[in-house]
């Protein structure tokens, strides 16, 4: 793309195909079936949903190979799986299993505190989380074919996802206003590749799709992120930690399509039971925040 080194067009293309859709966290084949039946555009295989990882503590790793295969055999929609930040061997295993997307995710315990995975070395695409434009462009520079907000996974609280999405969109808007002579300094301040900073300044958007994750628990949350500029949403604990997973999954799918239509949003929300319990992010200890993992 304009001589820019970014992920392959076919990989960015798969992210394009997921737009307007919902990617749901699932821990087994049965949940994957429910997600697909509700209209999920893809599923994310993981060992435990983020709220359980948060509760149980310990080291969170890539899902077991058996679980991933079971999920792949059960559904026809794309199957994604999480690898630990910097754990390129987990990513190699996921590549051997032919998962459709690797999420190099802060929800799992990082394997490397200095380096993220070199995503160009793989034949399958990667999605990475980001809190602001600098982090987002560093990940795209490493070859991520899709970006998502980190939010605060497993919190059932949308506030961090909103913060991250707003930081990205206002960062993008700012770049479009800068003169050519200001861009190198801005690249230095953002800690982001100059070529990508220039590209974003010229086009007013990211060169890869930008989705939202981390705290979506209701159809209204999903629509909020879409109205703030997300092009699709990931829902983690929000579905299978609620009292009505199948109905909630379906409602969130419909809300993501009709995110600007409050009448539809009211209609799809009316039959829903209680959402997952939420956490106040301000009362969370710094070391409990998943979003600060990765850099």
């Amino acid at each position: 793309m304009d001589g820019l080194r970014i992920a392959d067009r076919k990989h960015i293309g798969l992210a394009e195909m997921l737009k307007g859709g919902v990617i749901m966290d699932v821990t087994n084949a049965e949940q994957a079936k429910i997600a697909e039946k509700a209209g999920a555009a893809a599923v994310m295989a993981l060992e435990r949903v983020p709220s359980d990882i948060r509760r149980d503590g310990g080291v969170a790793r890539m899902a077991s190979v058996r679980k991933i295969k079971e999920i792949q055999e059960t559904v026809t929609i794309p199957v994604m799986a999480k690898a630990r930040i910097g754990h390129f061997v987990e990513a190699q295993i996921l590549e051997a299993l032919a998962v459709d997307y690797v999420d190099e995710s802060e929800v799992l315990t990082p394997a490397d505190e200095h380096f993220h995975i070199d995503k160009y070395a793989f034949s399958i695409p990667f999605v990475c989380g980001a809190r602001d434009l600098g982090e987002c462009l560093r990940r795209i520079g490493e070859g991520a074919a899709m970006i998502r907000t980190k939010g605060e996974a497993g919190s059932g609280n949308i506030v961090e996802a909103v913060r991250h999405m707003r930081a990205m969109t206002s960062g993008i808007r700012r770049l479009t206003l800068l003169g050519d002579e200001e861009l190198m300094t801005e690249a230095k301040n953002l800690g982001a590749p100059y070529e990508l900073v220039r590209w974003v300044g010229k086009h007013g958007k990211l060169p890869v799709p930008n989705f939202s994750a981390g705290g979506i628990a209701t159809p209204a949350d999903a629509a909020l992120m879409m109205q703030l500029g997300a092009e699709a949403v990931f829902v983690g604990s929000g579905i299978f930690k609620s009292k009505d997973p199948a109905a909630r999954a379906e409602a969130i799918v419909r809300a993501t399509t009709h995110f600007r239509d409050a009448k539809v949003l009211a209609e799809v929300s009316q039959e829903l039971d209680e959402a997952m319990p939420g956490l106040d992010v301000r009362k969370m200890a710094e070391e409990d925040k998943l979003a600060s993992r990765g850099w």
Binding site: K10, G13, G20, A98, T256, T257
Partner: protein
């Protein structure tokens, strides 16, 4: 000319960008279609790539099944890419699923494999004259059967990848992901010709 892009889910935005590159004899306006009433004053409709199972659910829930059937019966052109092809095909396998049956082809879903097997290639096409097209195949379906009334417009390695029957055009690949407006220009010409004098 007004072309709608079904925006329930999928790469509708890329189709709109592709339509913006078309130079027809008249300006081409594109709109996102999320409700059946939005089909009313269109000259043609694109059903984009996306997840066909997701699209099926949303089409059912929001009443698109009968609306698209009626749209087709009015003779208005429909262009389905990838998942869009799966939705308008006569029969679908791997696994079998309901479809609109607007074009007499049989398709197999995810027929090349998973994302690791997605690929780019060049193939030969005949769109009002011979041409060569850049083709991006993403978890693509394969056309396994072509009915007698269907003409094959493009091939990749001797396999049909683009076909047309009357007002319905389909492709297993994604012309909207390239900068080449040839395919969208061809579809807009179909829409132009199908229009009755007003």
């Amino acid at each position: 000319m007004k072309i709608g892009v079904l925006a329930l889910q999928g790469d509708f935005e890329r189709h709109r960008r592709a339509l913006a590159r078309v130079r027809a004899g008249e300006p081409v306006e594109s709109v996102e279609v999320r409700k059946t009433v939005e089909l009313r004053d269109l000259d043609g409709l694109i059903i984009p790539g996306g997840e066909s199972t997701t699209l099926l659910k949303l089409m059912e829930y929001f009443g698109f099944w009968p609306a698209l059937d009626a749209f087709h019966r009015e003779g208005k052109p429909i262009f389905g890419t990838c998942a869009g092809l799966i939705l308008v095909a006569r029969d679908v396998e791997n696994p079998p699923q309901p479809s609109l049956g607007l074009i007499d082809v049989g398709v197999e879903r995810n027929a090349y494999g998973r994302q690791r097997e997605s690929f780019e290639a060049r193939g030969d096409a005949d769109l009002d004259g011979p041409t060569s097209l850049e083709m991006v195949f993403i978890r693509a379906p394969r056309i396994r059967r072509v009915g007698p009334g269907v003409s094959v417009l493009a091939r990749h390695k001797d396999e049909p990848v683009m076909a047309r029957e009357g007002s319905v055009l389909v492709a297993t690949f994604h012309p909207e992901l390239t900068d080449d407006p040839t395919v969208h220009t061809y579809f807009c010409a179909m829409a132009q010709r199908s229009r009755r004098p007003r």
